[in-house]
C-alpha cells in the first residue's frame, strides 16, 4: 500500500493490519449471516454445504481471530476460505455479492456437489466468472435463476501520500486507536445491520427446520463488481456506513440491497413456481443431455428426501387446509408454493416440498412419458398416422404411453373422472374392460398387455364417434388415462385409452406400437415410485390394475405435456394425494378440477432425462412386480 511508505513503518503496518483485519471481519460478519449452515437436506450456500457443523455453534474459547475488534464470531468456513485469498490482495476493494439462487427443485444437493468442489478449487478470479455462469452449465440442475440480492463493498480509499503526510504524522498512535475504535463501532453496526436486511430472512428461512427449498443463497467475493443494469440498480437500495477516516485514507463500507425479497423470504412464493416450470420442462432438442444427472434421483425419490424433512415445516396450517378442502388447494391453476408443500408434508410422503417442480413420482411418470419417447426409444416413435388435425398437439402415438402411465394415479384419474362423467363413454368403456380384466387377472404381464391392446382396439372401434365427440375431454384429461384403483371401482375403468384415441384416426398403428412397447411396460408397476408408502399388497394390487388397464402407449402425450408444463404443482399435489386418499368421492372431484386445469396448459417437449428417469422407474416397478406381485395375487 501507498501508506506503508510514508510514515513510520510500524504505524503504517499496524494500520494496514487493522484495515486488513477489518476486511476480514466484515467478510466474516456478512457471510456468517448469509451462508446457511447446511443440513444435508437443505441445499443452499454451496460453500457452506461442506461444513455442516460450522456456524451454529460458537466455542467458548477465544481465538486470536475473535480478539480482533473484540468481536467473537461463529465459525464461518466460507469466510475463512475467502479470507485467505483476500489477505494477499493488498487492500483492493472487496465486493461481496450475496446471490439468491432459485432453482427447480429437482436439483439435488448431491448433484451439485461437483460444482461445489470446482468452486472451491478455483482461484478467486477464476471463480468469479464461473459463478456467474454456472447456471447455464450442465451439472444436472435445471437452469437456475440467480439474482444478486446484496452487494457489500468494503473499500479502502487511500489518499495520496503527499496529502496526508503533514497531518498524519503528529498523532499516528492516536489515529490508530481511533481507527481501531471506529472500526469496532462500524463492525458492530454492520453486525446489527446484516440482520436487519431482507436477505437475512432468506437466510433464516434456509436454516429453519431443514426444509428443502427451491432457493438458496450463495455468494461471490471479488475485487470488482459486475455492474448492475439500470433496472437492477433501481430495484436496490443503498445503505452506506459512515466511512472511517484513517491517517491516509478512509475505510468505506456500503451495501446495495434488494429491499423486497418477499417472494422468497416469506415461506413460499407464488411467483416462483411459474418461473421454474418452464425451465424444468425445457427443450430436449436444445439440450438433450442436460438433465441426465437427475436420472438417478428420480428412481429414488423417497431416499433422496427423507420423509422427516417434510414434517418440520412451520406452517402447520397448510396441513389442515389441505385436509379440509383439498380441491381448492391443489387445483388452483397457480398454486402458491406453500400449498404443494403443505400437501406433501401432510401426506407423509417422501417428497420434499420442493419437489413440485421436479416430478412428483406420479407426475413425473406422465411427464416422462410424453417427453421421453421420441428420443428415447425408436419403438415409441409416434405412429405414422398423424393426429387429427383439429388437435395438433395431440400425438397420435400417444396411446403407447398409456401403459406407462398406469402407475400414476393422478393423471389418469383426472381423465377417468371426465370419462366417468360422460355416460357415453362409460358404456363403451365397460366392454373392453371385461376382456381386459380377464386377461390381466393373470398377472402375466405380456399377456395382460396384449389383451389390453386388443381391448383397446376394439374399444377404439367402438368409440370412434364418441371419441370425436369428446375430443375436448380427451385433450384435457388425456394425461390421466388410467384410473386409479381406488377411484373407480376398480378396474373397470378401462378406457381412457380408447378415449383418447384419436387413434381413431389411426387404429392400425396402435397394435404395432403396443407390441413394441411391451417390454418397456413390464417394468412398470404402480408402486414403483413409492412402494414404500403403500402397503405391499396395495401396491401389487394397484400394479395389477394398471396392467390390466394398460392402454396403448403414447396416447396422452400431448396432453400430459401440457399438463406438466402448465400445472405441474397442481398435478403433483393431485397425484400425490392419491395414494393416501381414502375417499373416492373426493378424489374424483379433484380430478375433475385438475383436468380442467390441464387443458389450459401449453405443450412442451420432452427431455431425455425424463425418459431415462421413467425407464428407471419402470425397472423398479418391474422388479417390484416380479418380486411380489405373484405372491400376493396367485
Amino acid at each position: 500500500m501507498a501508506s506503508s511508505h510514508g510514515n513510520s513503518h510500524s504505524e503504517a503496518a499496524k494500520m494496514e493490519q487493522i484495515i486488513t483485519e477489518f476486511y476480514a471481519k466484515s467478510l466474516h460478519i456478512i457471510l456468517e449471516s448469509r451462508t446457511p449452515y447446511m443440513s444435508s437436506r437443505n441445499y443452499s450456500g454451496e460453500q457452506a454445504l461442506s461444513s455442516p457443523s460450522s456456524s451454529s455453534s460458537s466455542s467458548s474459547s477465544v481465538r486470536p481471530r475473535d480478539k480482533w475488534f473484540n468481536l467473537a464470531l461463529r465459525e464461518c468456513p466460507a469466510a475463512l476460505e475467502n479470507l485467505d485469498l483476500w489477505r494477499q490482495s493488498h487492500l483492493e476493494p472487496m465486493v461481496v455479492d450475496v446471490i439468491l439462487v432459485q432453482r427447480p427443485l429437482d436439483c439435488e444437493p448431491v448433484k451439485c456437489s461437483p460444482k461445489r468442489d470446482l468452486v472451491r478449487n478455483l482461484s478467486l478470479k477464476e471463480r468469479y466468472p464461473y459463478c456467474w455462469n454456472y447456471e447455464q452449465e450442465e451439472y444436472g440442475c435445471e437452469a437456475k435463476s440467480e439474482k444478486i440480492i446484496e452487494r457489500w463493498v468494503v473499500q479502502y480509499d487511500s489518499r495520496k501520500i503527499r496529502d496526508t503526510n503533514s497531518g498524519s504524522r503528529r498523532s499516528s498512535s492516536n489515529t490508530l486507536h481511533s481507527l481501531y475504535k471506529k472500526s469496532m463501532l462500524l463492525l458492530r453496526s454492520l453486525y446489527v445491520t446484516v440482520r436487519l436486511l431482507p436477505a437475512y430472512k432468506v437466510y433464516r428461512n434456509l436454516n429453519s427446520s431443514g426444509q428443502i427449498r427451491s432457493f438458496a443463497l450463495t455468494h461471490r467475493v471479488a475485487s470488482f463488481a459486475e455492474p448492475f443494469t439500470c433496472r437492477e440498480e433501481a430495484a436496490m437500495q443503498r445503505f452506506g456506513f459512515t466511512p472511517v477516516d484513517t491517517a491516509c485514507g478512509r475505510l468505506c463500507l456500503s451495501v446495495l440491497y434488494c429491499s423486497s425479497l418477499s417472494d422468497v423470504s416469506s415461506e413460499s412464493s407464488t411467483p416462483m413456481s411459474p418461473q421454474l416450470i418452464p425451465d424444468y420442462v425445457g427443450s430436449p432438442l436444445t439440450d438433450p443431455l442436460k438433465r441426465f444427472p437427475s436420472l438417478p434421483v428420480t428412481g429414488s425419490v423417497a431416499h433422496a428426501f427423507p420423509p422427516s424433512s417434510s414434517f418440520s415445516r412451520r406452517h402447520s396450517w397448510s396441513f389442515d387446509h389441505y385436509r379440509a378442502s383439498p380441491p381448492s388447494v391443489s387445483f388452483s391453476p397457480s398454486p402458491t408454493y406453500s400449498e404443494p408443500r403443505a400437501l406433501i408434508s401432510n401426506q407423509s410422503s417422501c417428497f420434499p416440498p420442493t419437489i413440485m417442480p421436479r416430478y412428483p413420482p406420479e407426475t413425473s411418470l406422465v411427464y416422462k412419458k410424453d417427453t421421453s419417447f421420441d428420443e428415447y426409444s425408436p419403438a415409441f416413435s409416434p405412429s405414422p398416422s398423424s393426429a387429427s388435425p383439429s388437435l395438433p398437439i395431440f400425438i397420435p402415438g400417444s396411446h403407447h404411453s398409456k401403459p406407462l402411465l398406469q402407475s400414476e394415479s393422478a393423471p389418469f384419474s383426472e381423465r377417468t373422472a371426465k370419462l366417468a362423467n360422460s355416460p357415453a363413454f362409460r358404456n363403451k368403456l365397460n366392454m373392453p374392460l371385461r376382456g381386459f380384466e380377464s386377461g390381466s387377472s393373470k398377472t402375466d404381464k405380456t399377456r395382460g398387455f396384449m389383451e389390453a391392446g386388443t381391448a383397446v382396439e376394439k374399444f377404439s372401434s367402438l368409440g370412434k364417434d364418441d371419441a370425436r365427440q369428446y375430443s375436448e375431454v380427451k385433450i384435457s384429461s388425456s394425461s390421466s388415462s388410467r384410473s386409479f384403483p381406488d377411484d373407480f371401482d376398480d378396474s373397470d375403468f378401462p378406457c381412457p385409452f380408447d378415449v383418447d384415441d384419436e387413434d381413431v384416426t389411426d387404429p392400425g398403428s396402435r397394435p404395432e406400437s403396443f407390441d413394441k412397447n411391451v417390454p418397456l411396460c413390464e417394468p412398470h408397476a404402480p408402486g414403483g415410485l413409492f412402494p414404500m408408502k403403500k402397503s405391499q399388497d396395495a401396491a401389487v394390487g394397484a400394479l395389477v390394475q394398471m396392467f390390466r388397464k394398460a392402454p396403448p402407449l403414447r396416447q396422452d402425450n400431448s396432453n400430459s405435456v401440457k399438463f406438466s408444463q402448465a400445472c405441474r404443482p397442481e398435478i403433483w399435489s393431485n397425484s400425490s394425494q392419491e395414494p393416501h386418499q381414502p375417499s373416492k368421492g373426493q378424489a374424483s372431484i379433484q380430478r375433475d378440477d385438475s383436468s380442467s386445469v390441464i387443458s389450459s396448459g401449453h405443450v412442451t417437449s420432452k427431455t431425455t432425462t425424463v425418459a431415462l428417469e421413467e425407464l428407471q422407474s419402470y425397472r423398479e416397478m418391474k422388479n417390484l412386480l416380479l418380486g411380489q406381485g405373484s405372491k400376493s395375487h396367485m
Binding site: 473484540n70 467473537a72 486507536h177 462500524l186 458492530r188 446489527v192 445491520t193
Partner: protein
C-alpha cells in the same frame, strides 16, 4: 464533555409489546457500546420478524429486563401516557475533592431517548402470545386491524433500529477510548425510567440537564 443525544422515533406500542420492543432497542444500543470482547447473540423477536443482537451477557440481560419490568409497572399505573426511557452512557471520573461534590463524577457522553406511546388497549388484549389474542377477539376486522397495526409497529421498530445504526455511524468521536480493563465489556450506563411520581421524574430530568449541560427534551 460532549454529550451526544439521540432521540429515537416514537413508537406506538401496546402494553404487551413493550417488553420486546424495549429489549430490542436497549440491547441494540448497548451492543453498539460494548467495545470489550463480545460474543454476539442473535435474538429473534417473537412478535416481529426482527432479529436483534445482544452482547450475550446474562448480567446485562437481567439488568435490562429488570428495568423493563419496572417500566411496565410504571405504565400500568400511568396509562395513556407517552413515556420515555433514557439510556445514558457515562464515564466515571475521579473528581477533585471539594466540599460540594462526591469523589467520583459521572460524565455522560451519550443519551438515548426511547419514546413510547403505550396504546390504551385494555389489558385483556395483552396476552403474551398473539394466539390467545386471536381467540379473544375472533372478529375478523379487529384481527386485521391488529395485524395491520402490528405491521406498522414492526416497520417503525425497524426504522428505529436503523436510526440507532445511523447514529452510531455518524457519531463516533465522542465515544471514549476502549476500556482497557479485562472483562469490561461495555461502557458504564444507566437506564432511567420515569419514576413513580412525575415530579420526581421531572426533577431527575432537570438534574440530568444540569449535569450534562445539555438541554434534554422533556416529554
Amino acid at each position: 464533555m460532549n454529550c451526544e443525544v439521540c432521540q429515537l422515533k416514537e413508537l406506538e406500542v401496546e402494553h404487551f409489546e413493550i417488553r420486546e420492543v424495549l429489549r430490542c432497542i436497549l440491547h441494540t444500543i448497548v451492543f453498539h457500546r460494548a467495545l470489550g470482547l463480545v460474543r454476539p447473540k442473535d435474538v429473534d423477536l417473537e412478535l416481529f420478524e426482527i432479529t436483534y443482537v445482544q452482547c450475550g451477557d446474562m448480567e446485562l440481560e437481567k439488568k435490562i429486563d429488570e428495568k423493563i419490568e419496572q417500566f411496565i409497572s410504571w405504565v400500568e399505573k400511568h396509562p395513556n401516557k407517552k413515556s420515555q426511557i433514557i439510556l445514558s452512557f457515562f464515564e466515571v471520573k475521579n473528581k477533585q475533592p471539594s466540599w460540594f461534590t462526591h469523589k467520583t463524577e459521572r460524565l455522560q457522553w451519550e443519551q438515548w431517548y426511547i419514546n413510547l406511546n403505550v396504546a390504551q388497549h385494555p389489558k385483556a388484549h395483552s396476552g403474551k402470545s398473539h394466539n390467545s389474542k386471536v381467540v379473544v377477539d375472533p372478529g375478523e376486522s379487529a384481527l386485521e386491524e391488529r395485524m395491520a397495526r402490528r405491521a406498522v409497529l414492526e416497520a417503525s421498530l425497524h426504522e428505529v433500529l436503523f436510526q440507532i445504526i445511523k447514529f452510531v455511524n455518524e457519531k463516533k468521536d465522542h465515544v471514549p477510548p476502549i476500556p482497557n480493563l479485562e472483562g469490561v465489556v461495555w461502557f458504564p450506563h444507566e437506564i432511567t425510567i420515569p419514576s413513580s411520581s412525575d415530579s420526581a421524574f421531572g426533577m431527575d430530568m432537570i438534574k440530568r440537564m444540569l449535569q450534562t449541560g445539555h438541554p434534554t427534551m422533556l416529554s
